[in-house]
Point group: C2
Chain length 242, copies 2
């Protein structure tokens, strides 16, 4: 079975300045895992029309699904919808269905030019419900365009789930090895990985205030095989541990 | 004065699985700001040799400086050093200077094949000191290769600072507008931005448990101009606020 993959585009100058720490990548990745979709790459890009347009096009070709976050609000720096339209040579206009959604939140006199921009949706795109603040996201081909505010983004995922056709699930097991040096485990670890087809073992050292060690993370599609690998890792830890 | 820019590559399957949340981007971006270097783009990529090699090459051409984190430990999934060498067609081998550094931490009998891999450094690269766990990072042309563990990465930045030639600093001011709707501020905000050359205003809505509002972030090179813009934003907030 071939992998089903996703690319994630996190859009916003504030993420690149370091002022705002992204949490959306982790939320989307964890939500995709049980659906059988692996994140292949994520990019954090500036509020720059050329870059957004080119990256959307590249990712749409490279991955089965693309998720974008950020840049769909009412202000002048919210340019994502126009960039998505440009990426696919679609026209874009204020759409009646999106205006109807905005009217469930805003009174007519509140719907100024700025707020009406949130109803600008590329032609042919389908709307994504926003249970938090109403202004919708939208799907254009295999690209899902969502808000950047984490609570709103999370809310939108609920209206995306039924549109995803995932592949075989990838399962994972974590074996924590406190007090073990990564360098002592490296060779036996590589040998274990080599023995099992379709299994990937990652090694992640950690350093807490009073503890160091390694987390071994085993990933693969066959849970029975993962059971065996996990048992071997526990034996390895017992053998070289303190 | 032209911008001095950086690209950041965060390497590791665990970041893409969502299990590990990256904090290195924010650390590097905030550290670069006072040096007069802006982060242009960041990518989170898998432990995949082709992708790492291609992305390093692309970023090295596109940005003044490139920072990579992750993949320089002793295990089989630590392939960053070899990929950097391949990106620049450099040979790579166990280097005596790097072995000397490892010997300040490890006894001779601890320096097994796995740990010696941490002394594999591309030809011509200069070492970057690691004050936490000794195994060095390295600089190849305009690319700085660092560890992924946040505490070690932070430690390595101290030995990079003197190698950076930054541009004009970008300053920023934040005006918090509690209780204000982004859509009410959007038009006057765009007008303020238009009035001032070289000033960029971002608008970032927030939703806390009992508070919603917007943060306006003004960025620019001239602090005197920023003072004026900041004052105008405070007037705007007073005018449309609750």
């Amino acid at each position: 079975m071939t992998d089903v993959t996703a690319g994630i585009l996190l859009i916003g100058d504030e993420l690149l300045s370091g002022r705002t720490k992204d949490t959306n990548l982790s939320t989307i990745a964890k939500w995709l895992e049980p659906l059988g979709v692996q994140v292949g790459e994520a990019r954090i890009i500036a509020d720059n029309a050329d870059i957004i347009r080119q990256t959307v096009r590249e990712f749409s070709d490279r991955f089965d699904y693309v998720f974008t976050t950020g840049g769909i609000g009412p202000t002048h720096d919210d340019i994502t919808a126009d960039c998505i339209a440009a990426a696919f040579n679609l026209s874009i206009s204020e759409r009646a269905d999106a205006m109807d959604v905005l009217r469930t939140r805003y009174k007519e006199e509140e719907l100024n030019a700025a707020r009406r921009r949130m109803a600008r949706i590329p032609d042919g795109a389908s709307l994504i419900k926003n249970p938090v603040s109403k202004a919708p996201g939208f799907q254009t081909k295999n690209v899902f365009t969502m808000a950047g505010v984490p609570a709103i983004m999370k809310g939108m995922l609920a209206d995306i789930e039924h549109r995803i056709k995932g592949g075989a699930k990838v399962y994972s097991r974590t074996v924590e090895a406190a007090g073990i040096g990564e360098g002592d485990a490296a060779q036996p670890l590589a040998e274990i990985e080599k023995k099992f087809d379709g299994v990937n073992i990652g090694s992640y050292p950690f350093f807490n205030a009073d503890l160091h060690g390694v987390n071994f993370v085993v990933r693969g599609r066959d849970e029975a095989v993962l059971d065996v690998v996990e048992a071997e890792l526990h034996q390895l830890v017992d053998r070289i541990g303190i």
